[in-house]
Amino acid sequence: MSAEVHSRGSIRRRLMLQLLLGAAVLAIALFFIVQSLARQLAEESQDNILAAAVSAILDTTSVRDGEIQLDLPYSAFSMLSNISNDRVFYSVRFGDDFVTGYNDLPTVPKDDGFGPWFDTATYQGDEVRIVTAERRLASRGKPLAVEVTLAQTRDGQRDQLRWISQIAAALGSGFFISVAVLAALTARSSISPILRLTKSVSRRGPKDLRPVAAPVPHEMAPLVAALNSFMDRLKNSLTRSEEFIADAAHRVRTPLATVRTQAEITYRRVEKDENRASIREMIRAIDESSRAAGQLLDHAMVTFRTDHLEQEVIDLNSLADEMIERLHPMAELREIELVLVQQNAVSTVGDTILLQSALRNVLDNAIKYSPADSTVTLCVSLDAGMAHLTTTDCGIGLPEEDAESLKSRFARGANVEGVIGSGLGLTIADEVARAHGGYLTIANNSKGPGACVTLSFPLQ
């Protein structure tokens, strides 16, 4: 019996997703931080070298006879080529005049302060870093500014940055992968107490309603406490139901027993035939109602037990043995011989009490509907993966058209007038058989008079 469970989402998946999402954000942030740090460092070092170079050039400038003198120092350019093979441009201006270098090289607009001033621009199709610095020199008595601009392409820096980016990307994805592995492990380990609990609950038999004793993490304690109290209530209510059914039978039958006894005592005292006949009728009615009450409550008990079926291995031969022994005195009273035919070891899995009840009802019927001085045969056999308990009697049989309808509640054959019965016996047998994955077959005996009722159960 497995009820439909409405499930949405998975704790493990959600946990994994959240951890992975966090890891991805962190990995990307890591990538960008490393990259921007690297760029900043590279830019700073280029700027420092450019500043050093430009100041080295400025150091060589002087004014003689109103003319600017300068000697481009080799060291300035070797400093720059240390970084990479980037191209270097320069221009020197004195006052408003262009002195040497690339005339079209843009200068950095000078804002406040002493410089040097930096800028990034595009020159001759390449991105360049430009630095401009100036120094005031006296020319013919008035100060004039010498302005040196130095530019360097950034190919080398770009290469370096690309390389660092690759390393940052590798670092980021490495971080992501290790976090993913950790996340999977974490998700699994945090879900494992739930799985353990599930296993320990689902492993239980239908009657095992003991509280869960295994320790659980304290976050799960309220759930387990709720589960335990639920099972406790269920156990109580199951016990109460069983007790109620058993007691109800007692409440009904005990007064009936008293009435029957009194009727019997009276019966023995009265002499007149018509009085005796009416008391007989009374006793029969009492028997009928007590039997009906018993069968109804048995039926309730059977229905109740099939809802949580026990699973134990049942030897059908010994079950049949026991039932024959139990019913023997009843059969003997009417000089009916009970014959048990067994061949193989046959067993099935199920609830012993229910199987006993089913078989007792079938055999009871057979004895009841058999004429005195006849034989009822119970045959235990197996074929086609099923175990069969076949009861054959020598009674009046049944109208063929009734065969199926006899399984329904309170249905009785059209030809059984005068025999006490409740019409529940075969219903009980049928329900027990079906609860165990088997079936009940009702037919007339093919080899003679009487009915042939077979209880079939799947083999163990």
Binding site: A257, T261, Y267, R284, P329, M330, I353
Partner: protein, 221 residues
């Protein structure tokens, strides 16, 4: 035989005692477990009829506490509770059989007989009537050199006669003892069984005599 009936329903108990006495048994009656304990500790019984629901406790606890002491005494439990739930517990605790109330006395008698037979009888089952020896438990009749096995109704009928030789039993009385209330049989059925018994007893000193208009009796020549 000596029976102990443990039953709190007085009218049921009285009727049961009446019926068992008719068969020639002696019955002690205990209304509660306390009384029952007293009886069991002082007297040996051939059979105990035990009600499961008693005013001062559960018959099952009696079974449990006396099972070792009652080793040799069969117990038939009587219960009015649901058969499906109760039978296993009752039989597991060592009752030999159980019967659900209200019961037919014929069924009670049959169950007592079956239980006693299963436990093996003792000498008290054997009644000597002239040259006929009758074992009511195994249902055998020894007539001279012949040993006969009586069928159930012949046995029960002969038992009635043998318990009280020379007493006259009317046909209706015999009918009541032999057939249950849901069996519609005519008085001719008695004649059939009496006829069979007469055949079995042929050649012995025991004889079933017809007293016209009154009934039958067993007479020893």
């Amino acid at each position: 035989m000596r029976f102990l009936l443990i039953e709190d329903n007085l009218s049921l108990a009285r009727a049961t005692i009446d019926r068992l006495s008719l068969d020639g048994h002696v019955v002690d009656h205990a209304e509660c477990l306390a009384d029952a304990n007293g009886f069991v500790s002082t007297t040996d019984y051939d059979l105990i009829l035990l009600d499961i629901m008693l005013p001062d406790g559960d018959g099952r606890s009696f079974l449990k506490s006396h099972r070792s002491a009652l080793e040799s005494t069969p117990v038939i439990a009587t219960t009015a509770r649901s058969e499906v739930s109760d039978r296993v517990g009752i039989l597991d605790l060592g009752a030999d059989d159980y019967i659900t109330k209200p019961f037919d006395f014929a069924e009670l008698e049959a169950r007592c007989r079956a239980v006693l037979r299963r436990r093996g009888g003792n000498a008290s089952n054997i009644i000597s009537l002239g040259d006929v020896r009758f074992d009511s438990l195994s249902g055998t009749l020894e007539v001279g050199q012949r040993t006969l096995h009586l069928r159930n109704r012949e046995l029960r009928l002969f038992e009635i006669f043998a318990a009280a030789p020379e007493q006259i039993f009317s046909k209706p009385k015999l009918l009541d003892r032999l057939f249950s209330y849901d069996e519609d049989v005519s008085e001719n059925a008695i004649e059939v069984y009496v006829g069979r018994l007469r055949r079995h007893l042929k050649g012995s000193r025991a004889e079933i005599v017809t007293d016209r208009g009154l009934g039958y009796r067993l007479s020893i020549k």
